[in-house]
């Protein structure tokens, strides 16, 4: 079936033939079409790319802007970090960053960039629009079935041949838990980090 947006009409001879059309998103509204186009344009950003090795900075994350000064060929300016590897305990510095950078335009220079200091964004915090991560807490925490102690079977081990079945307790394969039942109440399925909001675990 020819596309409604094409000049190819069903009555005239088709100008091109396709056996399959792979249409990813369909919309009937112009507003939504614009939104989809904007979103796709947003996906295809950062045409200019570079890699760099920097001195360590624990605040840098992907998508963060950084300012690089002194680079030749007009490439000084603000760059967006697309990928960062924090390297510790290596030479020539104890803490270094390997970054992949991207930008839409080159030469966005700021002569006062070197004066930048890390400050809290108080306005964003008050407005509830702060993009700082939440605190985390460890939950479902347990060492072992017997409250921080390794379980010791009350009987001596016996030699069991691989062919022997251990389904029925007998002399060769006794029920290890008959006289000492482990405390399964403290056993949790997993240990997990959970986000917190105030004092509440989410």
């Amino acid at each position: 079936m020819p596309s409604k947006f094409s000049k190819v009409s069903s009555s005239s001879k088709p100008k091109a033939k396709y056996k399959q059309h792979h249409v990813h998103e369909v919309t009937t509204s112009l507003t939504e079409a614009k939104a989809i186009a904007n979103d796709l344009a947003e996906t295809k950003r950062y045409a200019y790319r570079a890699t760099a090795t920097l001195v360590g900075n624990a605040s840098i994350r992907p998508y963060d802007p950084i300012y690089i000064d002194g680079v030749p060929n007009g490439m000084s300016g603000c760059w967006t970090v697309l990928k960062v590897t924090h390297r510790f305990g290596r030479l020539p510095a104890n803490y270094m960053l390997d970054v992949e950078l991207g930008t839409d335009v080159l030469g966005e220079e700021n002569p006062n960039a070197y004066k930048t200091v890390d400050v809290r964004d108080v306005n964003a915090e008050l407005a509830g629009q702060n993009i700082a991560p939440a605190e985390s807490v460890l939950v479902d925490y347990a060492f072992s079935v017997n409250d921080n102690e390794l379980y010791k079977p009350p009987i001596e081990s016996v030699n069991i041949k691989p062919r022997d079945t251990a389904l029925t307790p007998d002399e060769k394969s006794p029920n290890l838990y008959q006289n000492s039942i482990p405390n399964f109440s403290s056993v949790k399925r997993s240990t997990a980090w959970k986000a917190t909001k105030g004092n509440k675990v989410l």
Partner: protein, 283 residues
């Protein structure tokens, strides 16, 4: 016989001094194994857009006692700092790789961030939602918190048909163009411009110093800078398949498209339009 001057230790660099604003430190803790005794000699923390953080710890020696051994899925906490900035990585042990070479016994421990719980799959149909609402719901389901920005497009349905939660989040990020990243138990789903605007005024400053010797180049805080030069535009040349239609930005009209006439008469196979597999798999 003269003795060669020993090589200058790297701690002699200006930014390694405790008085320097670039002084750095790092340490690791395994909450489930407080008696862990191996010595941490190096660490690499990988952070990438639309990916979970991965931490690779390298320890000297191998653990041989039961009460000092760790296993996969054990929690791990890695703290690092530079100057006055402190950061923390919280996650789980993923793989333990003890290896021996002629020179030394080392143990590599691979860890994934706490957001890795999003690997679980589900079958859900979200109705009348925006992309950011789906992200918030999925994060809450896994005990994570989400920092999102309202996306203007309301969708009738968003279907998760057996994919993992992370695959859904990545799909939404690539459809909306929003930034998707995680940090410990927080999922960020906001526009790239919001992050840029919020952080641009206090963006970290690095100085590149060109020079013939290593010492001259290391006088700056940017040791190397290499532009990626290629005929292929990474985003627009490789991944995009083809433009079927679009809208005229000035008039708002839908642009009609036409294809060059090509005579397929006599051709046994008419062929078919096969989009780039990589592009559509990613979406």
């Amino acid at each position: 016989m003269p003795i060669d001057k020993p090589p200058t230790p790297y701690s002699a660099f200006q930014f390694e001094s405790t008085a320097s604003p670039h002084y750095s430190n790092f340490s690791v803790r395994f909450p489930k194994t407080p008696k862990f005794e191996l010595i941490l000699i190096s660490a690499d923390l990988y952070q990438e857009q639309e990916s979970h953080d991965v931490l690779v710890l390298t320890f000297k020696g191998k653990s041989e006692k039961d009460d000092t051994s760790i296993v996969s899925s054990d929690p791990v906490e890695f703290k690092y700092s530079s100057g006055n900035v402190n950061s923390v990585f919280q996650g789980y042990v993923y793989q333990i790789d003890p290896s021996s070479t002629v020179k030394a016994h080392v143990t590599e421990i691979w860890c994934v961030s706490a957001s890795a719980v999003l690997k679980d799959s589900d079958q859900v149909i979200f109705r009348n939602v925006t992309a950011d609402q789906v992200v918030s719901k999925i994060a809450a389901k896994r005990g994570l918190t989400a920092i999102t920005q309202r996306h203007p497009r309301l969708r009738e349905t968003i279907v998760q048909a057996g994919q993992t939660d992370w695959q859904i989040l990545r799909r939404l990020a690539r459809q909306t163009g929003f930034a998707l990243r995680t940090e410990n138990t927080t999922v960020f789903f906001v526009s790239k411009d919001k992050i840029y605007r919020d952080k641009k005024s206090k963006a970290p400053y690095f100085l590149y110093r060109d020079g013939l010797t290593k010492e001259e180049r290391h006088a700056g805080t940017c040791f190397s800078f290499t532009p990626i030069i290629s005929d292929d535009s990474i985003e627009t040349g490789v991944r995009i398949d083809r433009v079927m239609t679009g809208t005229n930005t000035s008039s708002g009209n839908i642009i009609a498209t036409s294809h060059n006439a090509k005579d397929y008469t006599g051709v046994e196979s008419l062929g078919k339009v096969v989009p780039s597999k990589e592009y559509f798999d990613a979406i």
